[in-house]
Symmetry: C2
Subunit: 271 residues, 2 copies
């Protein structure tokens, strides 16, 4: 048993969709979340900048002496996972391996769709894992740079003409490829799930990277004897790098419930 908290970070608030899943699966774990709202979005930035930002995010979380780090950010998972794993002596979980496993399990026809940020798609990370897990898988990938701004702007509900136009345009080639599993390669995208699902139709199973990553983390913590004692009520703390003013309203959208813990602003460039 290990009472230390789990550290979770994302470029902004999208990673809270992973926090929701972690809290559901492991209610007895303490969680520390950092959302880099002062520098969101990450998805269009270069590898060098992403590695620098991710290192600072992890350095901040490490001040809480976490037993594991969850990268609840598709962009960092595809671009900086190896660096972060090499530099840290606690387990660092990204979203790529868990999501690729889920897609390989779900697809029947071997055609998998992938949407993500520019940096995520550029990395080729999912293709590499899928080629190993299920050789011959045909991946149709599309960078969707406008989805994060749309979600962060609260425009993700069916009936929003802009969100629907954007989703239809991005997904047209993915749908045309006949995929039967679609990886939502960014923790912001589950908020768009209803629009994406309506466009893709019931034949495509949607893979939520945050959800898969949370399950993956749970299995590994159990395997390694790192879970907290049963019965403890997990405490959740939230930190952001921009003002906390709008946090509660937006956070409750991502979490699907009111924010229980407090939220504090920190200067991430000091880490």
């Amino acid at each position: 048993m290990d009472p230390r908290p789990i550290g979770v970070f994302d470029s902004g608030l999208g990673g809270l969709t992973a926090v929701r899943e972690l809290a559901r699966l492991m209610p007895e774990e303490d969680l520390v979340y950092f959302g880099d709202t002062g520098r969101v979005p990450y998805g269009g930035r270069s590898r060098d900048i992403l590695v620098r930002y991710a290192r600072q995010d992890v350095a901040f979380l490490r001040t809480f002496r976490p037993k594991a780090i969850v990268i609840a950010c598709g962009t960092v998972s595809t671009t900086a996972l190896d660096v972060l794993q090499a530099e840290n002596d606690v387990p660092v979980f990204g979203v790529v391996e868990p999501a690729a496993h889920a897609a390989a399990r779900l697809t029947r026809n071997g055609r998998v769709g992938l949407i993500g940020t520019k940096a995520s798609i550029r990395s080729g990370a999912y293709e590499r894992v899928l080629a190993r897990l299920r050789p011959g898988t045909q991946v149709t990938a599309r960078a969707c740079p406008l989805l994060v701004p749309l979600v962060e702007d609260g425009r993700s509900s069916p009936g929003d003409p802009v969100a629907e136009t954007v989703v239809a345009e991005y997904l047209a080639p993915v749908k045309a490829a006949g995929v039967d599993a679609l990886i939502l390669g960014c923790t912001h995208y589950p908020l768009m799930r209803r629009i994406i699902s309506a466009y893709m139709g019931p034949q495509a199973a949607l893979v939520d990277v945050g959800e898969q990553c949370a399950r993956w983390a749970k299995e590994r913590l159990e395997r390694d004897g790192l879970r907290n004692r049963p019965g403890h009520t997990g405490v959740h703390r939230y930190f952001v790098s921009d003002s906390t003013e709008d946090f509660s309203a937006l956070a409750s959208v991502f979490l699907g419930e009111d924010v229980a813990g407090g939220v504090e602003q920190i200067d991430i460039t000091a880490y």
Copy 2:
């Protein structure tokens, strides 16, 4: 006469639309441009973070000992101009005053439209200047948080269904208000000019904040004897905070010509 350069900065590459105008009006001036591509966009961030970022941007430009600073960023102009003017002993020009003067000159019916980032609209800066210049002016303002992501993604040409849908939705209430002058309150927006103009129709004069700011800066530098000697060919230097890789292609879109000077990446958090 003053041979020192003019410093110009923006959150990203939108400010290059102001550089183009500065270079056209004052070809003999040396220009140093900084685009904070590692932290773009600014428009959704809080005042505290914006002031911190703007101070760093100016501190970097001051290493070139400029004779003036041009804030080629609508968000910083509306939010941090007073702070930057108070802290610097060289003239600091923002876009609000010049653009409001142009709108007050152009409107016949006293109904002025304004589009900008969330932070710009929240500031009320244009309304305050217009109330002074032309009492009774009725301002219809709309925050357009998706326009910067669209422009930075290169999606700003007529025929792009997403850009056209977004523009129509944002501008519907502005058009309905019957404005005959529309302030494009962000230096990214001139790239959307053709879509915006097609939607608004010929009765609305469009005010380009970068262009107005460049004219304003020229007049004031002349008045104060700060222009460079005639005949000198201005040297333009460009700096960004993320990778320089995509700079040339994107920059030439904003500048309307190939980038003549070199471009370097700097660590803006060191300033």
